[in-house]
């Protein structure tokens, strides 16, 4: 999809391993977390400011934009403009915007006539479910295959799994989604369309465990699509970071100690190789969210991605702005968490 493969290494990893890179000094973890939180706050502030100005870049009259060509009388327009505070000077608008955002008031969607925050609240659950399950599967699959591939470097398993993941990586998400929908949702030739193609549950959804099954069956195709595109990077990173560890002396020492092959892998190589991958899992949340937008659109999954797509298609700028800010802030927080988690996992970075 969008980010180059393996290109970005987590900041913490580079800090720990990169030659010439300044190591974080040994401060307390709390202090570290606080400084990270400060950085996150700064980033969030930049997002808020950036959003304000980018959305003011919009060509044309914002009220008109909001009205999307629906008929409005001049008085209605003036009213609307006043309601949105667009008749105030830019600085006041900015102060207003920041104030509201800080109070979690993301404005009212023009399309839905409802507070953006409420809309987001409703869609959050399905997205968390889809992205969460997808991420868990992608991570386990990617790490597992990456470990095997890296450990048996150049074996057939390695070549096949790396090849498959590269192909899936190169596939545009939406295209894969459409194909899967056609093949497994609608059915082609002898393959019956066995999976639901829309939504998160059937209209006549049953109760109890059957409901869980119902939702699970609805999740099969969206999850499959998401996992297919996302897992490659975990595989590749795990693979290359394991390859790096394999050539380290301590692995040879472990073998010299008389450990079995799988013990060497599980006890020594994998825990070390996991470190950069763990951060990557968090780092790529934004990427997963990006994938979710397409997947949710194709499978009518009532999540944030769909809401965002809707907002773009209409276009409903308040909604777009709100969704964008929320997603971005969430991603920033995830990254901050990644940094902190990394620090806790790696004794080299963790304070003594």
């Amino acid at each position: 999809m969008t980010a180059p493969l393996e290109a970005a290494e987590p900041a913490a990893v580079q800090a720990a391993a990169g030659p010439g890179d300044e190591r974080p000094t040994h401060r307390g973890t709390l202090q570290y977390a606080l400084s990270k939180a400060g950085g996150a706050l700064f980033s969030i502030a930049m997002v808020i400011i950036g959003t304000f100005f980018v959305f003011r870049l919009l060509p044309g009259d914002p009220v008109r934009n909001l009205a999307q060509g629906r008929n409005m009388t001049p008085t209605q327009l003036a009213l609307e403009r006043h309601r949105l505070g667009l008749d105030k000077p830019m600085l006041d608008q900015f102060v207003d915007f920041v104030g509201k955002t800080l109070r979690f008031d993301l404005g009212t969607s023009y399309e839905y006539k409802r507070p953006v925050l409420d809309l987001i609240g409703e869609r959050l659950g399905p997205t968390l479910l889809l992205a969460g399950v997808g991420l868990v599967i992608a991570v386990s699959l990617g790490l597992w295959q990456g470990t095997r591939a890296g450990w048996r470097h150049n074996s057939r398993f390695d070549r096949v799994s790396t090849g498959v993941s590269l192909v899936l990586w190169s596939v545009p998400t939406f295209w894969l989604g459409l194909l899967l929908l056609m093949v497994f949702g609608v059915g082609i030739g002898p393959i019956p369309g066995i999976f639901p193609t829309r939504g998160i549950e059937s209209v006549d959804a049953p109760d109890g465990f059957a409901y869980v099954l119902d939702v699970a069956s609805h999740m099969v195709l969206p999850c499959l699509t998401l996992v297919a595109v996302v897992y490659a990077q975990y595989l590749l990173v795990m693979r290359s970071s394991l390859l790096e560890e394999v050539s380290q002396d301590y692995v040879t020492v472990a073998r010299a100690k008389g450990l079995r092959d799988d013990e060497v892998r599980r006890r020594h190589a994998v825990p070390n190789a996991l470190l950069p991958t763990v951060t990557l899992v968090f780092m790529r949340i934004g990427f997963v969210v990006g994938g979710a937008v397409t997947v949710e659109t194709i499978y009518s999954w009532p999540g944030l991605g769909q809401l965002f797509y809707e907002a773009i298609r209409v276009p409903d700028f308040t909604l777009m702005q709100g969704t964008f800010m929320l997603i971005t802030v969430a991603v920033i927080l995830m990254n901050t968490l990644a940094d902190v988690v990394y620090r806790m996992l790696d004794p080299r970075v963790r304070s003594a």
């Binding site: 999809m1 969008t2 980010a3 180059p4 493969l5 290109a7 970005a8 290494e9 580079q14 990169g18 030659p19 010439g20 890179d21 950085g39 980033s43 930049m46 997002v47 980018v54 959305f55 870049l57 060509p59 150049n154 590269l166 192909v167 990586w169 190169s170 596939v171 545009p172 998400t173 939406f174 295209w175 459409l178 929908l181 056609m182 609608v186 290359s240 390859l243 790096e244 394999v246 050539s247 780092m283 949340i285 934004g286 990427f287 969210v289 990006g290 994938g291 937008v293 397409t294 965002f308 797509y309 773009i312 298609r313 276009p315 777009m320 964008f324 997603i327 971005t328 991603v331 920033i332």
Partner: protein
């Protein structure tokens, strides 16, 4: 002796370097396949105007039946307006590749300048650049590109800008790390001791050492830019000329799937897949050949 000889010294050095590189690169089967596919794709896109022109994308000239299955006249079938999918894909490759290359170029140039500057200059400048990079790095790039394209309108230019502006941070990060690594090498110290200034060190030592990485990263970046473009087109924020992405969007809009016109969906998709694969394979091979850190791991 001197001028000529120096020239030839430089020249033969370059040849030598290239020969060495080529020998290594040839070892990578995947990379060779990718390179071949890439050359074919680029050459085809370049020579396209010799054989066809914009009219292949014109609905007025689409004379065959709508959604006609592959036939001799239209080997990949026709689209909803009776245009040959083959010719469309061929012509569309120009837009897709152009966007891919330009967006990657933009992204790489920003990433390179910021990355090298952030790595080379310690102190507030480097720190500020790093903060900005980090900020861009965590922005979900597809989402941001969608917002930018939606706001600025989806022309080819804006799509390029939207992709370039949202993806450079990864490159910058990579280049900075590499710059730091290079600058920690004793030869930088030696160069300083010889009297080399900032410009000398960044252009003579840092740049040549990050250039291979940049090349590899550009290749990968092009691949992702092509996919992003198609995704943006699919999500309807791109108002581009015919590209593979807009073709897929049209196939979706015009219900090719339900109409059973599989070729209309499969062909442009496969083109994206093939070219992106080609770039990715090439990029990985380049990375493996050129980045010594990965070289040992293979």
């Amino acid at each position: 002796m001197s001028a000529v000889a120096t020239g030839s010294v430089a020249w033969s050095r370059r040849r030598l370097a290239f020969d060495r590189f080529w020998r290594d690169f040839r070892q990578h089967r995947g990379g060779m396949v990718g390179l071949l596919a890439l050359v074919v794709a680029v050459v085809l896109a370049l020579v396209a105007p010799l054989f066809i022109d914009d009219s292949v994308t014109s609905v007025v000239s689409g004379t065959s039946d709508d959604f006609a299955p592959p036939s001799l006249a239209a080997p990949f079938g026709t689209d909803e307006s009776g245009r040959s999918v083959l010719l469309m894909v061929w012509w569309g490759s120009r837009t897709s590749l152009l966007i891919g290359f330009l967006a990657a170029l933009l992204s790489i140039v920003i990433g390179m300048v910021v990355g090298i500057a952030a790595g080379h200059f310690r102190g507030w400048l480097g720190a500020t650049l790093m903060r900005i990079t980090d900020w861009f790095l965590v922005l979900p790039s597809l989402i941001t590109a969608m917002v930018l394209a939606a706001i600025l309108g989806g022309s080819t230019f804006t799509i390029i800008v939207a992709i370039g502006v949202t993806t450079w941070a990864t490159t910058a990060r990579l280049i900075r790390a590499q710059t730091l690594a290079v600058e920690a090498r004793p030869y930088i110290e030696r160069s300083k001791a010889l009297g080399g200034g900032h410009w000398h060190i960044t252009t003579r030592h840092v740049l040549p050492n990050v250039a291979p990485l940049l090349l590899a990263s550009t290749t990968l970046e092009v691949a992702s830019a092509i996919v992003t473009e198609s995704t943006l087109a699919f999500l309807g924020v791109s108002a581009n000329k015919t590209s593979w992405g807009t073709m897929l969007r049209a196939s979706y809009d015009f219900g090719a799937a339900t109409a059973g016109a599989w070729w209309y969906i499969i062909i442009p998709g496969l083109c994206i897949l093939a070219v992106v694969m080609a770039f990715t394979l090439c990029g990985r091979a380049l990375e493996a050949v050129l980045n010594p850190r990965l070289r040992k791991a293979g």
